[in-house]
Amino acid sequence: MNPESVASELHENERKIISLLKDRGELTVDQLVDETGLSRDAIERACDWSETKGIISVSQKKRREFRLTEEGRQYAREGLPEKRLLQTVGDDGIEIAQLKERFHPLDIALAWVRVNEWGTISGGKLKLTTNGRKALQTQVMDEKILHKLMESPMEEELLDEAAKRKITLMLKRGLVDVSEATDKRVKLTGFGESVALSLEHISDEKLITQLTPNHLRYKEWREARFQRYDVTLPAPKVYPGKRHFISQVIDYIRRFWVEMGFKEMKGPILELAFWNFDALFQPQDHPARDLADTFYMKTPYKGRLPDERLVSRVKATHENGWETGSTGWQYKWDPEFASRCCLRTHTTSLSVNTLAGLKESDLPAKFFSVGRVFRNETIDWNHLMEFYQTDGIVVGKGVTFRNLLGYLKEYLERLGLEKFRFRPGYFPYTEMSLEAEVWIEEKQSWTELFGAGMFRPEVVKPLIGFEVPVLAWGPGFDRIVMRHYGINNIRTLYSNDIGQLREAEIWVE
C-alpha cells in the first residue's frame, strides 16, 4: 500500500490521532481522549480503522487499581477507629465498660489495637503500649494510604512491597476495592510513520467530508480532496411510510378476484338480521343466531324490512319451502326477529343482498367482497371480535360443484398454500357444503381454513325469483396473514405496534 494514498483516505479523527502519536510516541486511549477532546467511542473507532490499515499497533495491558470502599472513605475522613480509640485512652488507661457507651465501633477498634500491639487489656482496663504511644504521635502507614486513595486510585504497579502488603490487609478489611482495567496503548507502526509523513504534505489541502452547497457554489471542491469512506460501515436505520400489512394483503386479494373476473359488491356493516340470517335460510331458532355469537344492537334496535314480496317469499320458504321444492323448516317465521339490527357476522350478507338485485339478464355473474365482520367473542390469542372476510359468489346456469372447487383451489394456491383439501362441511345455507383445510406440517394435522358451498335453492329462489346454481364462499384470511408474517397471537394482527409495522416486510406479490 502506498502511504500517500492511505493518508488521503483517512478520516479526520484518524488524522488527529496519527499526528498526536507522531509527536508523543506511545499513548493510551485515555490520553488520546484527553488530548483530542473526542469521545472515547470516536477514538476507539478511529483506532480500529487505523489498526486495520496497519498504521498503528495497539497493545493491551491489564492493570489493577485500588480504590476506597464506602467504609474506607469514611475512615479517611474521620480517622481509623483504632487510631481514634488511642486518642481516648490517656496515660492511665481506660475502663472497657466506660468505652462501651462512648465509643463506636468498639469491637473493630479494639481488635486492631490488639493486632497492632498498640494496647493491652488487663482487669477490664485498656492501656497503651509504647508502640501505641508512638502511633498516637505519627501518621501510620494505613492512614497515609487512605489519604492517598482518597485523592485518586492507586495502581498496583506503582506500589512498593510494604504498601502492597498493607493494601492487601485493607482489602481484607473491606476498606479497599480492587478493579481490573485494560489499558489500550497505541503507537505508530513503521508504515504508520511514513503515513504520518505523507499526511504532513497533504494536510494543507482542503479535505471534504460532507459536501455542502458552498463547496459547490464557490467551487471549493475543485481544490479539495474527498475523504474516502469505509462503505462497509453500518448506517442509521430509516423507516418508510408504509401500508399496513393487512391492508397490503387485502389489496392482493382484491386484485386476485378482479383478475379472475369478479365484480366487487359493497354493503353496510350494520345489517338487518333478515340479510345476515333469514335470507340465508337460517332458522330463527338456530344456535348461530344466539345472542352469544352475534352483536345485536341496542341502538339502532330495529330496522325496516325490504319489500314485502321478498319478505313473504323468505317467510314462506322458512315455514314450508314455498316454491323451492323443499319442506322448509316447518315453524312460524317471525318478521320482528328478522328486523332486528346486528353487526354483520359474515360478508355473506352482501352476497345475498347482491343476489336479490339480480335479473336473469345479468347472468352469468361473479361477485366478490372484502370487508370487516363481527363476532361477539371474548378476545384471546385465538379469537377477535372483528376481522376481515372475503366473500365470493358465482351465479349462472350450468355452474357446478367442480367449478366451486376450481375457484377455491386457485384462491388457495394464489395465497401460497401448497397442501390443502376439501372435505364435507355444514352450513344451513349451502348444499354441498365444504370445509377447506390446510395441512400444518408442525402439528402434523389438518386445520380448517374456511367454509364454502353452493347456495341452497331455499336461499336462491326467494331472492332472485328462479332457480339457478350459485357457488359461494366466505373465507377469512387472518390465519394466512399470520402464517406469512410468522405471527402466533391473533391480537398482534390489529395491535398496530409501530415497531412491528416499521419492520414488517412489504407484500411483494
Partner: protein, 558 residues
C-alpha cells in the same frame, strides 16, 4: 357444534371390522364429521347439527359402515305392534303440546351402551332439542309402569319423588331447589300448571322437560324401557324418537309401538317408515359437474344409507332417522360425499362477466398511496370501541352512536363514529418507539341515520395524526390542504372550528360549498394527557365519501 367421545373398541365391535385410529382419522372426515383428536383407545368427533343421528356411537358406526361399503343400503327396522297406550290430556296444549312414546325390550345394558345413551340424550337435548325447550326425552324402566301412561298437567303444589332424591318434593320446590330445576325452569316460566307424565295408578314418571321420577329409575337390571318425548315441535319430536329407538335397535333390542291418544286423534309411534323422494339423474350430474349413471348414483346413495328403487326415475327411500333431507339437493350432497370430495377434478368455468373494484374502494386506495407518500404509516384498527375512548378521553361531548346490547367485552360495546380517537389510541400504545410517529387510516365508521333501512350508515373516513416534538397547527394544515390539492379540489373554505378536542383557536373546519367535509387541528394537552401521550400531536379527519362525491360530480361535469 356438539363433540362426541367414542370408545374405539366399542366402535369397532359395532362395525365388525378392525381398523386403526389412523385409518379412521383419514376416512371419517370425508364422510362429513370433523375429527377432533384421539387417544389410544378413544377418539372424538364433531357432529354437524344436520346429522343428530350420528350423536351416538351406534349411529356413527351405522353411517360409517355404510360409507365404507361394509354394510350399505337402507336398514330395515321392525316396529312390533303392542297394546301399550299413552293418553295425551287436553291441558298440555297450552303448555307443551306434543308427546310421543315407544317401548324398547330385550336391551342388554352394559357400560358402553349406558354411556352412549347418556351422551346421545344430552347432545340431542342441547342441539336438536334447543336446550330441552323444543324437545326433551325421558327414559324409564318399563317394569313398574301401569299402562296407560297419561301426559297431563299438575299445579305447582303437586308432589312426587324426583330422580335421585330421598323424598317427595312439590313441583315448585323442584324448580327452585334442584340443580336441573334451576337450569331449565326458564322453559316453564309463567305457567300456572306444569307438564306431568304419570301412569294409570297415579305414579309419576317425570316432570317434562325437567326431571324424571325415582319410581322409574333405570339400573343394571333393566331390560325394557319406556321412552317419552315431549315437545313444542311435532317434526323435531318424531325425529328425536326415531334416532333413539334405532340406536337401541342397533344393539339388538326390539322396538314396540305405542298408541298415543290425543283428544282428537290417535297417533302410533315410532313411525320408522322411510320417506320417499324422487331424484332426477340430470339434476345430480348438472349440479356436480360429473356424468354418473343411474347405477352409480344408486350405489352412492346406498353408501349413504338410503334405499333406492329405480323404475322410470330414481325413487330414494330416506331412513326415518335422517332429519336433514329437505330437498333433492340434500341427496345430491350425500352423493357427492359418497363419490368423495377429493375425487372431484376442480375446474374453473369459462364464464366471462364484467369485473372490477368498487370505485369508492379504488379512490380509497389512491388516498392511502398518497398518504404513504408523505411518509406516514398506515394503521388498521378496530371499529368497536367504548364511550371513554370515543368521547371522554377526547374531551368531546357524547353523541348518539350505534351500540351493541350484549357485548362480551365491555371495552368494545359501541361502534366509532369518527376515526381520530382510534389513531390516538395507537399513539398511546407506542410511546416506547422512536418519534416521529406519523400515522393514518382510511377506514369505516358508523353514523346513525334514520333515513337508512337499518338506522345507520357505514361511512368512509380518512384520518391522520402527526406526533413528534415539533408537530404544530401549521404542519397539519399544510398536510390537509396538500391532500385536498392533490385531489384537485379547489373551492375549499377554511374556517375556525370549535370542536373541543383541539386547543382553542387551533382547530379548523374544511368546507366545500358550505358543506363540512373535515376538520383538523392541534390536540389539547388535556386530551394528550388522557391518552398519556407526552408528545405534541396534531390530527385531521376528512369525509372520504364526501371527497369522492365531489370528485364524481366534477367528472360528470366534464
Amino acid at each position: 357444534m356438539p363433540v362426541i367421545e367414542v370408545k374405539l373398541s366399542d366402535f369397532l365391535k359395532l362395525l365388525g371390522k378392525d381398523l386403526s385410529i389412523e385409518e379412521l382419522s383419514e376416512t371419517m372426515p370425508m364422510m362429513g364429521v370433523s375429527w377432533e383428536g384421539s387417544s389410544e383407545d378413544s377418539f372424538s368427533i364433531e357432529v354437524f347439527p344436520n346429522r343428530p343421528d350420528m350423536l351416538s356411537v351406534e349411529g356413527l358406526a351405522r353411517s360409517y359402515a355404510s360409507f365404507m361399503g361394509f354394510n350399505t343400503g337402507l336398514r330395515n327396522y321392525k316396529v312390533l305392534e303392542s297394546d301399550y297406550t299413552s293418553i295425551v290430556a287436553e291441558e298440555v296444549r297450552d303448555v307443551r303440546p306434543y308427546f310421543c312414546s315407544a317401548v324398547i325390550k330385550n336391551i342388554e345394558f352394559d357400560d358402553s351402551l349406558i354411556r352412549s345413551i347418556i351422551q346421545m340424550q344430552e347432545k340431542l337435548h342441547v342441539t336438536h332439542g334447543r336446550k330441552r325447550r323444543k324437545v326433551s326425552i325421558g327414559l324409564h324402566d318399563l317394569k313398574p309402569i301401569k299402562f296407560p301412561v297419561i301426559y297431563t298437567t299438575k299445579p305447582p303444589e303437586f308432589k312426587f319423588r324426583p330422580l335421585g332424591e330421598r323424598s317427595e318434593m312439590t313441583l315448585s320446590q323442584i324448580l327452585s331447589d334442584l340443580p336441573k330445576g334451576v337450569e331449565y325452569a326458564w322453559i316453564l316460566e309463567g305457567m300456572a300448571r306444569y307438564p306431568i307424565l304419570m301412569d294409570s295408578k297415579g305414579m309419576v314418571l317425570s316432570m317434562p322437560p325437567i326431571i324424571n321420577s325415582e319410581h322409574t329409575r333405570i339400573d343394571e337390571a333393566t331390560d325394557s324401557i319406556f321412552i317419552d318425548v315431549t315437545s313444542t315441535d311435532w317434526k323435531a319430536m318424531n325425529e328425536v324418537l326415531n334416532i333413539i329407538v334405532t340406536t337401541f335397535a342397533d344393539r339388538g333390542a326390539g322396538i314396540y309401538q305405542v298408541s298415543n291418544k290425543y283428544p282428537d286423534k290417535v297417533v302410533a309411534s315410532p313411525n320408522l317408515k322411510p320417506r320417499e323422494m324422487n331424484l332426477a339423474l340430470d339434476y345430480v350430474n348438472d349440479l356436480l359437474g360429473v356424468n354418473l349413471t343411474h347405477e352409480q348414483v344408486s350405489a352412492y346413495l346406498e353408501r349413504m344409507g338410503y334405499g333406492v328403487q329405480f323404475e322410470e326415475a330414481l325413487k330414494v327411500l330416506i331412513p326415518s332417522y335422517r332429519t336433514d333431507i329437505m330437498h333433492q339437493m340434500d341427496l345430491v350432497e350425500d352423493i357427492a360425499i359418497a363419490y368423495g370430495y377429493d375425487k372431484f377434478v376442480p375446474e374453473i368455468p369459462p364464464i366471462a362477466s364484467p369485473a372490477g373494484e368498487d370505485p369508492l374502494e379504488i379512490f380509497c386506495r389512491s388516498l392511502r398511496n398518497l398518504l404513504v407518500g408523505y411518509g406516514f404509516l398506515e394503521t388498521v384498527t378496530f371499529m368497536m370501541t367504548n364511550r371513554v375512548k370515543l368521547f371522554k378521553k377526547m374531551c368531546l361531548p357524547e353523541e348518539p352512536v350505534a351500540e351493541a346490547e350484549n357485548s362480551k367485552n365491555e371495552e368494545y360495546n359501541i361502534v366509532r363514529n369518527r376515526l381520530i380517537p382510534s389513531l390516538l389510541e395507537v399513539l398511546s400504545l407506542n410511546k416506547h418507539h422512536p418519534y416521529p410517529q406519523n400515522i393514518f387510516e382510511v377506514a369505516e365508521v358508523l353514523i346513525l341515520d334514520p333515513e337508512e333501512d337499518t338506522g345507520a350508515k357505514t361511512a368512509k373516513r380518512l384520518a391522520v395524526a402527526l406526533c413528534h416534538a415539533k408537530s404544530n397547527f401549521s404542519e397539519i394544515k399544510s398536510v390537509t390542504i396538500s391532500i385536498i390539492d392533490n385531489l384537485g379540489i379547489r373551492n375549499i373554505n377554511i374556517e375556525p372550528s370549535d370542536i373541543t378536542c383541539f386547543i382553542e383557536g387551533r382547530g379548523m373546519n374544511v368546507k366545500v360549498e358550505g358543506h363540512l367535509i373535515g376538520y383538523a387541528g392541534e390536540l389539547k394537552p388535556e386530551v394528550l394527557e388522557n391518552w398519556e401521550i407526552e408528545m405534541p400531536t396534531t390530527a385531521l379527519e376528512l369525509d372520504a365519501d364526501a371527497l369522492y362525491d365531489i370528485l364524481a360530480k366534477c367528472r360528470r361535469r366534464v
